[in-house]
C-alpha cells in the first residue's frame, strides 16, 4: 500500500489546486484528480483542500463519502469496476468477475494485499450494447470475455500503465442501427446559431414552443415552457422584458449528461459523434434565455470522452461559435464548462445535479423553488437532457412546424432508443415517437420470442409480451431511452432484484422512506431469492412500494419500487415459484446467524448448517 507523507500530499495538491482556482464549486473536480493520483483521498488532503477553498473540513469529508468513485481508504492501483447492470449480468458478468478475482488472488470488493488491484461492481457504466463492461481506473473496457481478462490480468501483474494497454480493449462503438432526423441528417456547425440570430431570440423561443418539444430526460416537461419560466424569473427580478438579449452574467444553461439510468447509452453516442449538435442546442438555449455560461455535467463513467469534448469546444471557440461575441454578435457571449460526476445516479436529478455542480453532496433540493427560478448558485437555471438540446438545435435550424410534423400529436419528433439485452443487434435506434415495441423488437433482431421488456430502465416500466403493441410516446410508454429485452426463460426475478439493489445503492440517503425503504426492499428481494420468502413478504413489498411512491423526497425513491411492483403484478408466477411452500415467516434465520461462525472456522460443510 502506498504511503503518503504530508510533504508528498502538498506537493501533489499544489498544482491541482492552482489549476482549479479558489471557487468551492471546483471541489469535486479536485477530489477526482486527487483520487486518481493517490488512489484515495488522504485525510491530510482533506485538510488542505478544505483550507484552500475556505470550507469546513466536515463538508469535504461529506463530499468524499457521497460519491462512489471517491474513497477515504486506498483502492487498488489498478481499480477494476465491473458494470453491474442486468444486461452485463445476463452476459456473464458475475462469473467473469470471479474469474478475474481468482486469477489475481483478490476477493471481490477488497484490495489485494500488495495494494496492486481491487475488483468490485459498480452501477451500469452505459456500455450495455457492448458488455460485459468494466472501468479500469475510470477507462471503459468493453466486450469482456475470458481471453480479454487473461490479457488484463497479465497487464496488471506486469504493472503496465493503463495508458499503454492495447487500444483494442477500450474500443467503444456507436452501434447506430437506425438514424432519423437527429442521427441521419447532418447539420453544419453554426447553422442553428445563425438561424437563431437571424430570426431573433424571442422568435426562436416561439419556434421551440410550436415544435412542442418535450424533455428527453424522462419527465417530458415542455422545453419552451421551461425556457420561458427561466426568462420570466429574470424579467420579474429586473422588471425587464422577456427575451432581453445581452448575456446577463447570472443565468445558466446546464446540459444533463449524467445518463445514469441503467440500460441508457444514447447520450454517450450523441456526445461521441454529435457533440456539435448538442453544444449548438445549448448555445441556442443561451441566446433565448440570455445566459452567458453553460455547464455540461458529464457522468464520471464517461470521463473518457472529456478530452475529445474539450477539443470540440476549443474548435467551436476558434470558429466563433462559442466564447466572446459569437458569430460577431457583440451582445452575445456564451461559454461552456465541462463538469465531471463521480459515480452517483442521483446526480441526474436536476436539483441534485446543481448541488453537485456547486461541489457538494448530490442531494435533491426542496422544491419549490425550482431551478428555473433558483438554480445554480441561486440563479435562474435551465437543466435539459443532452438529446433535448440536440433537438432544440434542429428546431432552431429547421423550424417548429417541421419538427411538430414528426411523431404523434402529444409526442413530437423522434426518440433515441438504447436497445440491449437479448437481441441480435444491440445499439441505438432513432424512431419517430409512436413506434410500437414490437416494431423495435423486429428491427433489432430480438432472439426467439421475447418475453418482457424493461422500458426506460429500472425506474420505468416492465411490460410483458402481451403489451408489445404499445407505443413509445409520452401518452403511452414514456421513456428516457432505455429498452432492455428479456427472452423467454430469463429469470425476471433476478432482473427485479438487480434493480432493487441498484436503487438501494444509489439512494442519496436524505429521506427516511427512500434511505430505509430501498434497503428493506433489497433485503426482502434477497430473502426471496435465497428461498426464504413467504406470501407475507409479497404483501410487505407492496406496502413498501406504496410508501416509496407516496412519501419519497424525489423521483429516485418514488420510482424505486416500480420494477418490483411490476413483476408482482405482471409475472406473479416468477415470484411465487421462489417462495417457501409454507406460509409462516421465520422471524429469525438461525442458519444465517451461524454465518459469522462459519467464516471464522472456515467451514461450510453440511454440519455447519442447520
Amino acid at each position: 500500500m502506498q504511503q503518503f507523507e504530508f510533504s508528498d500530499i502538498s506537493r501533489i495538491l499544489t498544482p491541482i489546486l492552482a489549476r482549479h482556482g479558489g471557487d468551492a464549486s471546483r471541489l469535486l473536480q479536485v477530489l477526482l484528480e486527487v483520487q486518481d493520483v493517490c488512489h484515495f483521498i488522504p485525510s491530510k488532503a482533506i485538510d488542505l483542500i478544505a483550507a484552500h477553498f475556505g470550507v469546513p473540513r466536515v463538508n469535504v469529508e461529506g463530499v468524499v463519502g457521497f460519491y462512489s468513485f471517491l474513497s477515504t481508504h486506498p483502492v487498488g492501483e489498478y481499480r477494476l469496476l465491473f458494470s453491474g447492470n442486468i444486461t452485463d449480468q445476463m452476459l456473464g458478468k458475475d462469473e467473469l468477475m470471479q474469474y478475474l478475482c481468482n486469477k489475481l488472488w483478490v476477493e471481490p470488493g477488497k484490495v489485494s494485499e500488495d495494494g496492486l488491484v481491487s475488483i468490485a461492481s459498480t452501477s451500469c457504466t452505459g456500455m450495455c450494447d457492448q458488455g460485459p463492461a468494466a472501468l479500469i481506473n475510470g477507462w471503459p473496457l468493453t466486450k469482456l470475455d475470458h481471453n480479454r481478462l487473461d490479457l488484463i490480468a497479465e497487464l496488471i501483474r506486469s504493472r503496465k500503465p493503463v495508458a499503454d494497454w492495447p487500444a483494442m480493449l477500450f474500443e467503444v462503438a456507436d452501434n447506430i442501427h437506425r438514424g432519423d432526423v437527429l442521427l441521419g441528417q447532418p447539420s453544419e456547425p453554426g447553422a442553428a446559431i445563425r438561424a437563431t440570430l437571424a430570426r431573433g431570440a424571442k422568435e426562436t423561443l416561439a419556434e421551440v414552443d410550436k415544435s412542442n418539444l418535450r424533455g428527453r430526460g424522462g419527465a417530458g416537461f415542455k422545453t419552451a415552457s421551461k425556457w420561458s419560466f427561466c426568462h420570466a424569473a429574470i424579467a420579474e427580478e429586473e422588471g425587464g422584458i422577456i427575451c432581453d438579449v445581452g448575456g446577463h452574467p447570472e443565468r445558466f444553461i446546464v446540459c444533463n449528461a449524467d445518463e445514469g439510468e441503467p440500460g441508457t447509452f444514447k447520450d454517450r453516442v450523441l456526445l461521441n459523434s454529435y457533440a456539435d449538435l448538442v453544444f449548438e442546442g445549448m448555445t441556442v438555449g443561451a441566446r433565448v434565455v440570455g445566459a452567458s455560461k453553460g455547464f455540461l455535467y458529464l457522468r464520471g463513467e464517461y470521463r473518457y470522452l472529456l478530452q475529445q469534448l474539450e477539443a470540440v469546444l476549443k474548435r467551436r471557440r476558434e470558429a466563433g461559435l462559442l466564447g466572446e461575441n459569437i458569430l460577431g454578435q457583440t451582445d452575445f457571449s456564451f461559454d461552456i464548462e465541462i463538469h465531471l460526476g463521480a459515480g452517483a445516479y442521483i446526480c441526474g436529478e436536476e436539483s441534485a445535479l446543481i448541488e453537485s455542480l456547486e461541489g457538494k453532496r448530490g442531494r435533491p433540493r426542496n422544491r419549490p423553488p425550482f431551478p428555473v427560478t433558483y438554480g445554480y448558485k441561486g440563479r435562474p437555471t435551465v437543466v435539459d437532457n443532452v438529446e433535448t438540446f440536440a433537438c432544440a438545435a434542429k428546431i432552431a435550424e429547421k423550424g417548429g412546424a417541421w419538427f411538430a410534423a414528426i411523431g404523434t400529436a402529444q409526442s413530437t419528433g423522434t426518440k433515441l432508443i438504447s436497445v440491449s439485452g437479448d437481441v441480435a443487434r444491440p445499439g441505438i435506434y432513432e424512431y419517430p415517437f409512436g413506434v410500437t415495441v414490437s416494431q423495435i423488437l423486429d428491427d433489432c433482431g430480438a432472439e426467439g420470442r421475447s418475453y418482457a421488456v424493461q422500458v426506460s430502465g429500472p425506474s420505468g416500466t416492465t411490460i410483458s409480451w402481451k403489451e408489445f403493441e404499445r407505443k413509445i410516446a409520452f401518452e403511452d410508454l414514456p421513456t428516457a431511452g432505455a429498452l432492455m429485452v428479456f427472452r423467454r426463460k430469463r429469470d425476471l426475478f433476478q432482473a427485479a432484484q438487480n434493480f432493487a439493489d441498484f436503487f438501494a445503492h444509489e439512494s442519496c440517503g436524505f429521506c427516511t422512506p427512500c434511505r430505509v425503504g430501498t434497503e428493506l426492499q433489497k433485503k426482502i428481494m434477497s430473502k426471496i431469492a435465497s428461498g426464504y420468502g413467504t406470501a407475507s413478504d409479497l404483501e410487505e413489498l407492496k406496502r413498501l412500494g406504496h410508501i416509496l411512491k407516496t412519501m419519497s423526497h424525489c423521483g429516485l425513491g418514488s420510482s424505486a419500487a416500480n420494477p418490483v411492483l411490476d413483476i408482482l403484478e405482471k409475472f406473479p408466477d416468477m415470484v411465487e415459484s421462489k417462495l417457501k411452500a409454507f406460509a409462516f415467516k421465520p422471524a429469525f434465520d438461525l442458519d444465517g446467524a451461524l454465518a459469522t461462525a462459519r467464516t471464522i472456522t472456515g467451514r461450510d460443510d453440511d454440519w455447519a448448517h442447520l
Binding site: I46, P56, R57, V58, T512, R515, V516, L520, H553
Partner: protein
C-alpha cells in the same frame, strides 16, 4: 387580511411565506414531525410530516401554504404511513430505549407512542455505528442518529461553527464531525452550543446530567408530543 388553508376541514390562517407546518403550529394543529424545529430553516428529510394537498402528498414542513389548499393530515392512511416511517427509523439504528438516557424525553420515542407503535415490525438492521465519548462534556452515540441534521443546522446557523455534517450515502449515511481525528473532542464544540441541545433523540447527550430527572417524571411520560409541540391540550 389573512389568508387561509384548511387542514382536515379546519380553517387555518397563514401569512405569506409560511409553510403548511408553520401555519398548523401557530393554530395548534399537530402534524407529526421529527426533523422540523421551528427555530430552524425547514429541512424535509424525515417525511413524517407528509400531508395530502389537493390529492398529492407533500412534506408540510417545506411546502409553502397557498390560499385555498385543502390539506388532509390526521387520516388513517397517512398515520399508518407515518408509523411505518417511524418503524423504519427504529430498525435502521440501534435504539434500546430502556437503556437510553433520553427515554421519556425523546421525540422519536414520543412520536412512536403517539402513532401507536407496538412493535418495530421490520427486522432490525443492527448496523455497526460508533459512539464517541471523547468530548469532556458531550456524548455522541451514532446508534441513535436519525439524520435530521438539526445539530448540523444549529452548529452552522446559530453557533457559527461547523461541528457536524453528514457523509456516506444511502443506508450508509453517517454523522461526521469536523476534526481530522474524527473525534468530537477534537472539534470546537462547546457544551453551551445550541448544537449540543437540539438533538430530538439520544444521539447527542450532555454528560453528567444522566438521570437528573428520574424516569417517570420526564416530558413525554405525562403529556403527549402533540401537546408539547402545539402548546395545546390533547382532547
Amino acid at each position: 387580511m389573512s389568508k387561509t388553508i384548511t387542514i382536515d376541514g379546519l380553517a387555518v390562517p397563514f401569512q405569506e411565506g409560511q409553510t403548511i407546518m408553520d401555519a398548523a403550529l401557530v393554530s395548534g394543529v399537530y402534524i407529526p414531525h421529527l426533523c422540523h424545529n421551528p427555530e430552524f430553516k425547514p429541512h424535509g428529510s424525515c417525511k413524517l410530516c407528509t400531508v395530502n394537498v389537493n390529492g398529492r402528498n407533500v412534506a408540510s414542513c417545506t411546502m409553502p401554504a397557498v390560499e385555498g389548499q385543502q390539506v388532509l393530515s390526521d387520516i388513517a392512511e397517512l398515520n399508518a404511513d407515518r408509523l411505518a416511517l417511524t418503524q423504519m427509523l427504529f430498525v435502521e439504528g440501534n435504539h434500546l430505549c430502556p437503556a437510553c438516557e433520553k427515554t421519556g424525553n425523546c421525540q422519536l420515542q414520543a412520536v412512536a407512542y403517539y402513532l401507536g407503535m407496538m412493535s418495530p415490525h421490520y427486522n432490525h438492521f443492527y448496523p455497526q455505528r460508533e459512539a464517541d465519548a471523547s468530548h469532556p462534556d458531550v456524548m455522541l452515540d451514532r446508534n441513535r442518529c436519525i439524520y435530521c441534521e438539526l445539530c448540523v443546522r444549529a452548529s452552522r446557523e446559530v453557533d457559527g461553527k461547523n461541528v457536524f455534517g453528514l457523509s456516506g450515502r444511502g443506508i450508509k449515511t453517517l454523522l461526521v464531525v469536523n476534526s481530522a481525528s474524527g473525534l468530537l473532542g477534537d472539534t470546537d464544540l462547546a457544551v453551551t452550543d445550541k448544537a449540543a441541545h437540539v438533538c430530538p433523540t439520544g444521539a447527542i447527550l450532555i454528560k453528567r446530567h444522566g438521570y437528573a430527572v428520574p424516569i417517570g417524571q420526564r416530558v413525554f411520560d405525562h403529556i403527549t408530543i402533540k401537546e408539547v409541540q402545539t402548546g395545546g391540550s390533547d382532547e
